[in-house]
């Protein structure tokens, strides 16, 4: 490590990283646009200017993202000249900016806004007409480009070159007429396009999915883990007015996904906002099903299961905590539970997606659950008198495999419509859980309640424990 002096405080800096990283790592914000810790430094936006004194030479202004750290270097991020240089730079960046913040989806998390507020000037001095370029250029299925808002930091171009290693974006044109576009105007491909909207420091690259959906300051952001494959990327689940999940974004995790996530995980939240979800429970009533409260449904389930040896199928979306509760219940029933293991979804790639659609396959195996493919599970259910299907998506994973009229008790987010269904008990979605998943590499991913489950939907481990208590007839 190299010792440098940052604003009068001695700190340790990684000699392999540029000066700006040392500042950020030590809690000193330095404005930046073209610099992104996950991409090669470009040094073109010129906003990260700081005052540097080294080697006995007089202080000079330097762009922190292209300045290597050296032993004893003194850095002053708050020098008058540095503030002035950044103010100038912001004035240039805003000269052609359309200033359409009121209708811009990035407003509120736009660093052009933030830094202008911090150290820009209050009024524009330019009277020239602003640049007119395409305002809604379609870049494919995922992204819309507003060329007028673009500040040409080229993060998106470098992301495609360096992270996906599939260059599709280019800077075209010269000087103030430069603009971002796709090569030969072809639509973009691949499943990492959504990251472009995250790394774009302004509102130039926006998600079609999120355009005009919510003002970002109305979103509550919660740490969670992506459910769409066994990589278990850390995510921020963003909920509008404590109700709908409006956006899922990657959250930096050094060991798993760094700054990125795939579009499969990013856009799989529609089902979380499904108004048709099960609340409370359902019980068989003659040939029909009738609504029940959760305790009623648990009582009914206990009645059906008591004294039976049901086939127990667990969802690979269960958390470790839920898995343990299910194991305890199975011990009570004297049966062995198996976890569903669907086939690869064929989406595996070199970057993040593993192709295994089960976020906790590894964790469930660690707990001792044997694996069962959906077709085999269907056969096991069909062969049994009674079956218990536990956990999120267990029904949808089995949907293509009919299992006759075996009596069923399900614990899922949705009700089962199968012929033999006796009891359905509501279970929460993963964004409503507190718990742990273990990813393909054995790394724990935390689930934190991003949204409270509606009344009548209890934590699955609680439901399983209640069911166990009901089976033994003991008092709670």
């Amino acid at each position: 490590m190299t010792k440098i002096i940052l604003n009068g405080r001695e700190i340790e800096a990684d000699p392999d990283k540029p000066l700006i990283a040392a500042c950020h790592d030590n809690g000193q914000e330095v404005p930046h646009y073209c610099y992104h810790p996950g991409l090669s430094p470009e040094g073109s936006c010129r906003i990260c200017q700081v005052e540097v004194t080294e080697g006995g030479r007089p202080p000079r202004l330097a762009v922190a993202c292209r300045t290597p750290v050296s032993e004893g270097m003194e850095v002053n991020t708050e020098a008058e000249v540095a503030h002035e240089a950044r103010r100038e730079c912001l004035e240039f960046l805003l000269k052609n900016h359309p200033l359409d913040c009121p209708i811009c989806d990035k407003a509120g998390e736009c660093t052009l806004q933030d830094y202008s507020f911090d150290e820009g000037q209050a009024a524009a001095r330019t009277v020239e007409p602003r640049r007119k370029l395409e305002k809604r250029k379609d870049l494919g299925d995922v992204i819309v480009l507003d060329q007028e808002r673009c500040i040409l930091c080229s993060r998106c171009v470098r992301f495609q070159e360096e992270v996906t290693q599939k260059p599709e974006l280019i800077v075209a044109g010269l000087a103030a007429k430069s603009y971002i576009t796709t090569f030969a105007d072809r639509p973009m491909t691949g499943k990492y396009q959504g990251n472009l909207a995250d790394i774009c420091p302004v509102g130039a690259l926006t998600l079609k999915e999120f355009r005009f959906q919510a003002r970002v300051w109305n979103l509550e952001k919660h740490q969670s883990t992506c459910a769409e494959c066994s990589r278990g990327c850390s995510i921020s689940a963003e909920v509008l007015r404590r109700k709908d999940v409006k956006r899922i974004r990657p959250m930096y995790n050094e060991d798993v996904n760094k700054w990125w996530m795939c579009d499969i995980g990013r856009f799989s939240f529609e089902h979380l906002n499904d108004p048709e979800r099960l609340v409370g429970g359902l019980m068989a009533y003659g040939t029909d099903l009738m609504a029940a409260t959760a305790p009623e449904a648990i009582e009914a389930a206990a009645k059906v299961l008591r004294g039976q040896k049901p086939t127990v199928i667990a969802s690979p979306f269960m958390t470790q905590e839920e898995g343990r509760a299910l194991l305890a219940l199975c011990a009570e029933l004297g049966v062995e539970a198996k976890v569903l293991q669907p086939a690869s979804n064929g989406e595996a790639d070199d970057l993040l997606h593993t192709g295994d659609p089960c976020p906790n396959a590894r964790g469930m195996a660690d707990l001792g659950f044997g694996k069962l493919a959906p077709a085999d599970a269907a056969k096991a259910i069909a062969d049994a008198d009674i079956a218990l299907l536990a956990g999120e998506r267990v029904l949808s994973l089995m949907s293509e495999h009919p299992f006759g009229s075996t009596k069923l008790v399900t614990l899922d987010t949705h009700a089962s419509l199968a012929a033999g269904v006796e009891v359905c008990i509501a279970a929460p979605f993963h964004v409503e859980k507190n718990g742990t998943w273990i990813n393909v590499d054995g790394i724990e991913g935390k689930l934190r309640t991003a949204r409270q489950a509606p009344d009548g939907v209890h934590a699955l481990e609680d439901t399983l424990a209640d069911l166990q208590v009901a089976l033994t007839g003991a008092q709670v």
Binding site: E42, G43, S44, C45, R46, I47, Q49, L61, V63, R66, P68, A85, E88, C89, E91, F92, L93, K95, N96, R125, T126, E128, I151, L152, V171, G173, L174, A175, A176, K177, S178
Partner: protein, 448 residues
């Protein structure tokens, strides 16, 4: 010409020095052969260093010193390259063109000597795209030299190998910036690279590279042949040697002339040996000292010696020694607008200040010239220029746009203010610019 020794254009004037036979008949390649046989690479570098030769590409950096920045070949076994900057695009500059047209072998000899001195295994000549004739002449010279065994393997039996490749630019000014040139040679957009790393450590394809200007290398065979002392007998102490000076604009005899560094600019303008005075007997009003990037200085500075240090003293630069003369019937605001338009068009668009600043300067100069200027615009010009330079961007293009702006505000503020008050070009008092330039503007706007 008289009064001083000439060497740079001595062969060009003979007529057939561009052919291999013509060049050899005048003693060409003898210096290279002697150097390869009798001198070590270090000795070649040493004589160039001792001569005090300064780069002719505009910055005036000592060439011999630049060569010593290349890493020690014993310690660094990477491939080493020389890139020749023949992307001569500075407005007003046309000296390299004369060399490539009339004496391409002289340049090649310089290239081979430089490659030998720095142990470069290949040289890349990056020629401005518009220089078609010059490209063809140089390409023919390279072919002939290859056929004669002067380029290639085991040159003159010395065991020294060197390849020379030609590359045609596509018309971008920024590719004349050394790192932009390297990016362009690599097949990328001509976006200058941030420094460090410097080309000598991380150049073409990441290998040690030196970039030299055509005229710089053209000087090398003469220095190696006649020695450092001879070279220092010409020019000034800090800027030795002769230099090719391009004189254009409002003069009787525009052209490229050879003169020792330190010659008075007045001599260049007025002597019959050079430009022969201001056109139609008009009075000098302003002049660009070394191409558009160096900015305009007023007529009162015309007695300044043409060398690097004297030009710094009057707040300008020698640049590529390309004088552009503006007479008293012409408008400096219009000239500034044209210069600003050039940089607005040619900025590569990487750095925020340059991309937006060059456009802004152009817009303001255009408004002032067309009668929509405001008095506060004049101070705005300097405010913009101070945001763009010095040294605030990756390369010097931003500085090159800021310097002429600062110069015109410093020396010709009256004329700018007159334009604002008269709501247009004050020279003919009509509000429209002299020489019907407004019509040009509209046409150019329509094209843009």
């Amino acid at each position: 010409m008289s009064g001083f020794e000439t060497y740079l254009l001595s062969r060009a004037e003979k007529g057939d020095a561009h052919t291999l036979d013509g060049y050899k008949a005048l003693g060409g390649y003898a210096t290279l052969e002697r150097a390869l046989k009798d001198m070590s690479p270090e000795e070649v570098t040493a004589v160039v260093k001792d001569s005090g030769l300064r780069g002719r590409g505009g910055a005036g950096f000592p060439t011999g010193l630049k060569w010593t920045f290349m890493p020690d070949p014993e310690k660094d076994k990477r491939r080493r390259y020389l890139a020749i900057n023949a992307d001569e695009s500075e407005p007003g500059t046309c000296k390299d063109r004369v060399i490539m047209d009339d004496d391409p072998h002289g340049m090649l000899e310089g290239i081979l000597l430089a490659c030998y001195a720095m142990r470069c295994e290949a040289a890349y000549i990056y020629v401005r795209g518009e220089y078609r004739h010059q490209y063809e002449r140089t390409e023919q010279a390279v072919k002939d030299a290859y056929a004669a065994g002067i380029i290639g393997k085991d040159i003159f039996g010395s065991g020294f190998d060197c390849e020379v490749y030609m590359h045609k630019g596509a018309g971008a000014y920024i590719c004349g910036e050394e790192t932009g040139l390297m990016e362009s040679l690599e097949g990328k957009r001509g976006h200058p690279r941030p420094k460090p790393p410097f080309p000598a450590g991380f150049g073409l394809w990441g290998q040690p590279t030196t970039v030299n200007n055509v005229e710089t290398l053209f000087n090398v065979p003469f220095i190696v042949e006649k020695g450092a002392e001879w070279y220092r007998s010409m020019g000034t102490e800090k800027s030795p040697g002769n230099i090719l000076i391009g004189i254009s604009g409002s003069v009787n005899k525009p052209g490229v002339f050879e003169a020792p560094l330190g010659i008075s600019a007045r001599t260049l303008l007025e002597s019959e040996d050079f430009a022969g005075g201001v056109w139609k007997g008009r009075k000098l009003k302003a002049w660009f000292t070394g191409g558009s990037s160096c900015g305009m200085v007023p007529a009162s500075t015309i007695d300044t010696p043409m060398d690097h240090d004297s030009m710094m003293e009057i707040g300008s630069m020698l640049g590529t020694a390309a004088m552009i003369i503006i007479d008293d019937s012409q408008c400096v605001v219009r000239a500034s607008e044209v210069v600003a338009r050039f940089y607005d068009h040619e900025s590569c668009g990487q750095c925020s200040q340059c991309r937006e600043g060059t456009q802004w300067l152009h817009q303001i100069f255009r408004r002032i010239e067309n009668g929509q200027g405001r008095l506060e615009d004049i101070d705005m010009l300097t405010a913009i220029a101070s945001g763009m330079a010095p040294g605030k961007t990756i390369c010097a293009l931003s500085d090159a746009a800021a310097i002429p702006t600062n110069q015109v505000v410093k020396h010709f503020r009256d004329e700018l203010e007159e334009h604002v008050r008269a709501k247009g070009c004050a020279i003919n008092g009509t509000g429209a610019c002299a020489h019907g330039h407004s019509a040009d503007n509209q046409e150019l706007e329509a094209q843009a």
